[in-house]
Amino acid sequence: MQPPAEHVHWLFATGFLFIGLCLLAETIVGPEVWRRQAWRTYLWPGLAFVGGLFMWPVMVFYTNSTIHMIAHSSWAQVMMLAGAAELGLARGKLKSPYWALTVALAFAVSGAAMLVHEQQPWLFSRSAFLHHLSGWTLVGASLFPLGRTFRPSSTLLRAGFALSFVALAVILFADRDVAEIFGHLSPLAGTPRR
């Protein structure tokens, strides 16, 4: 009954795409309009927190190796931390704007964990390629939430932040457990699927 890893990636991609669209909409209309409805204010932080909760079963059930468990649990923790901090900021319980740095931390830690737990080279398989790509995308994209903390009104940083989620969704949707990448597939990877 346990879904294949690629299905888990696709489910997370669905969530990230929805978050990306919401953040893009917030960028377009501006935070003032977006926050006119309380539920919209809590939407992205709430989804980040729930995403972190869903990472725990991933950590428990996908125990390919110790490094996988450590990577998945570190994602779970930083996603929940970032979601909780953003919820605290949105509610006004947290006063310091520097709590928003937890989102940059979540991106950087998630990217590093993605890179560390993929032990195959880039062209080993599509999955390996996309793990490297998403890892570096997350590490690079951590500059957007980092900059957003210090320049919260910057449309460019907000758009970059939103598009990071869309890019991550595209990468995760493209993932397959065993498939070619640019015509390359290691014979050690297994039988490919389309």
Partner: protein, 88 residues
């Protein structure tokens, strides 16, 4: 919020920002449809025989379409209303 209301919103004259927000959902739906046409084997429900639960429950092009529909249905209409109130 029903489909007729969403359609009425789409037909009314909107600012550039409102039209950009209204376009996000349909663009996502269009992306999912194009993907389904280009890679029909990713839509396992088209050939369900022998497929397990997860292969029928999680179909990426349909999920992209679902995200677009949910955004256009649940998020965009209220956001456009608030945007237009602010612009007035």
């Amino acid at each position: 919020m029903d489909i007729q209301h969403v359609t009425r919103l789409a037909r009314r004259h909107h600012s550039v920002r409102a039209r950009a927000v209204l376009a996000l959902g349909p663009l996502s739906v269009l992306g999912g449809l194009l993907w389904a046409v280009l890679q029909p084997y990713r839509v396992t429900v088209l050939d369900p025989e022998g497929q397990g639960f997860w292969w029928l429950f999680v179909e990426p092009p349909l999920l992209v379409i679902l995200v677009g529909v949910l955004f256009a249905w649940l998020v965009a209409p209220g956001l456009i209303r608030d945007l237009e109130e602010q612009e007035r």
